[in-house]
């Protein structure tokens, strides 16, 4: 028996999925969720094998919700968006269904999932999907989990990011938050006009820089408005000069 969740902010949209699923005895819907927060809770509670996920939802979208899940289950996207990351969907999600979808199309998606998931889900694939995809709001905010709460950080509030073992620390005026992602992920996702990876372990918001001092040989130190001193590597300095136009 596969356990499934339906996460969509439109009740009627959830109803379609539930109705179509009636033909699949091997899939059981554990819960329907109104938004990403409910979705997160339900995922923790039920550890589902499969989720049907809408993209545009209140507060945090489907992609951002997935980012906060440690071992994401298999995902079938159900969305009216076709402008986002269709390629990534095709390569990595179990499937994507463009609303409105018909029964045949839906059956194909579920059968595809059942065929490729003899044991459990394929969290690896979902991880890859997240790395690849361009989520709708990625340039605008970073979603992090602090304890059981979800914190939404507008990118304007970010001072700098620092690598921290397997995590990345996101520093803001209010404090720092850990996010289970790589520096490469952030380097790709953040707007390169405003954020520069100045060091293997550091990305800084260029608006926060007050001064750049020489430091040892080839290296520099960027002094930020908050007083933080961030090491700038040789290649980082070249990149920084390019973005600043000096």
């Amino acid at each position: 028996m596969k356990r499934a969740l339906i996460i969509d902010d439109e009740p009627l949209a959830r109803m379609v999925v539930r109705e179509y699923l009636q033909d699949f005895d091997q899939v059981e819907v554990m819960q329907e969720c109104n938004d990403g927060f409910e979705g997160l809770k339900a995922i923790q509670q039920y550890q589902p094998d499969l989720i049907f996920l809408d993209v545009q939802m209140p507060k945090i979208n489907g992609f951002e919700m997935l980012e906060l899940v440690d071992n994401p289950p298999a995902v079938i996207f159900t969305t009216a968006f076709d402008e986002y990351a269709i390629k990534a969907f095709e390569a990595h999600a179990v499937d994507y269904l463009l609303k409105p979808f018909n029964k045949d199309r839906f059956n194909k998606a579920v059968e595809k999932y059942l065929a490729q998931a003899p044991g459990g889900a394929s969290p690896k694939k979902t991880e890859e999907l997240l790395e690849m995809s361009n989520s709708p709001a990625q340039h605008e905010r970073i979603v992090v989990k602090t304890g059981t709460k979800v914190k939404i950080i507008p990118v304007q509030d970010v001072i700098y990011l620092a690598a921290d073992d397997d995590y990345v620390s996101v520093y803001t005026a209010e404090g720092s938050y850990l996010k289970n992602k790589t520096m490469n992920f952030f380097e790709k996702m953040l707007d390169q006009r405003y954020f520069v990876r100045v060091h293997r372990s550091y990305i800084i918001a260029i608006q926060q820089i007050t001064r750049i001092d020489p430091y040892e040989k080839d290296a520099h130190l960027a002094i930020l408005k908050s007083g933080a001193k961030i090491p700038v590597s040789k290649t980082g300095y070249v990149k920084l000069k390019q973005v600043l136009g000096i």
């Binding site: 009627l12 209140p58 507060k59 609303k99 409105p100 605008e140 507008p154």
Partner: protein, 352 residues
């Protein structure tokens, strides 16, 4: 129409005409003077006459040409041009009568000059009139071309805007999600599905029919808006509620069609996607003197959405339209406080 002359070519031709005119006049005057006055200097006298009268004529032509460049006479004022031509012809003749005796000698020539003043004035008049006609045709043609260019540019702009609006108004996202809701309703509430199809059709038909240039009464605009709101309410269930207040006086007020729509769309979008609770979108209309005041409010989350994002693309479009229609930038204001986002627009009413 043949390829129009460039202005430098035209002026070249006119100068050539002037030189030919000078030569002809010299020749003609000489033929008269030579009969009566056998002096050797008759060629000199004729030449002087030719130069002086041609220069005066050229000056008159230049004056009338320049005049017509900046002033195109209306249908009833061609008589003004005639008067102008006459006056210039008289001035030129008088100039000749005054200047030429100073430069030449010989009584017979002076007699000839005085005797020929009427014929000279008439010829001047014809020449200046001809110049005026050429100038008028020339400049009206330039004007027409300029108008055509402007018109086609404006048409192109309007077409682009129309296309853009169509895409905007059809809102594929809204449309597909609505169709998805209908898909859900068909299974267990066919009657509601049918009603929603009708609402959606009415809304789309209304949207397609709407002309941006049109001015509509607020009640009509609200009726169209209600179709949209009803559909959104089916989609989002109890989460979305709307409050609309509009008294009789403001109901008949006029506003540009589809002006309110993007503001309400924006309010719904921000309300629904920026908060997780129930969303009340309120629309209030009232009259303030000569202005129709429209206020749209929606909840939002001050923590996650910036004021900068508050004036999204939809609102910028509204502001731009208000500016284009009324040439004023102060007709739209937005406020954000206490987790309520407020958009206020003022629509000036025509004086009755």
């Amino acid at each position: 129409m043949a390829a129009p002359l460039s202005s430098s070519k035209l002026y070249g031709i006119l100068i050539l005409c002037g030189l030919v005119w000078m030569g002809l006049q010299t020749f003609i005057v000489h033929s008269f003077v030579a009969v009566t006055d056998k002096e050797l200097s008759s060629w000199y006298t004729a030449f002087t006459d030719g130069i002086v009268s041609s220069v005066l004529l050229a000056a008159a032509c230049w004056l009338i040409n320049n005049n017509l460049r900046y002033y195109q006479p209306g249908k009833g004022s061609y008589i003004n041009i005639l008067i102008w031509c006459g006056a210039l012809a008289i001035i030129c003749t008088a100039g000749c009568q005054y200047i030429l005796p100073l430069l030449t000698t010989g009584d017979s020539y002076v007699n000839f000059l005085v005797a020929s003043k009427y014929i000279r004035a008439f010829i001047y008049f014809l020449a200046i009139g001809w110049m005026a006609m050429i100038s008028m045709i020339w400049y009206s043609q330039i004007d027409q071309k300029e108008n055509e260019r402007r018109k086609s540019e404006a048409e192109k702009l309007a077409r682009d805007a129309e296309l853009y609006n169509l895409r905007q108004q059809l809102q594929p996202h809204f449309l597909f999600n609505s169709l998805n809701s209908i898909n859900a309703l068909i299974g267990f509430k066919p009657d509601e599905a049918r009603r929603m199809i009708h609402q959606l059709s009415d809304f789309l038909r209304g949207t397609l029919k709407k002309d941006d240039q049109q001015q509509v009464a607020l009640t009509d605009e609200l009726q169209h808006l209600n179709l949209y709101l009803d559909i959104e309410k089916v989609r989002f269930g109890h989460r979305l509620q709307t409050e609309i207040s509009c008294d009789e006086k403001s109901g008949v007020a006029i506003l540009p069609s589809m002006l309110l729509q993007p503001i309400v769309e924006n309010a719904i979008k921000f309300g629904l996607y920026d908060t997780t609770g129930d969303v009340v979108v309120s629309i209030r209309a009232e009259m303030d003197g000569n202005y129709l005041i429209l206020m749209v409010q929606n909840p939002y989350d001050a923590q996650t959405s910036r004021p900068k994002q508050g004036t999204g693309f939809g609102l910028r479009g509204v502001q731009r339209r208000l500016y284009l229609l009324f040439a004023r930038n102060d007709l739209m204001e937005t406020y954000a406080n206490d987790n309520i986002f407020t958009t206020i627009i003022k629509v000036p009413q025509m004086q009755v």
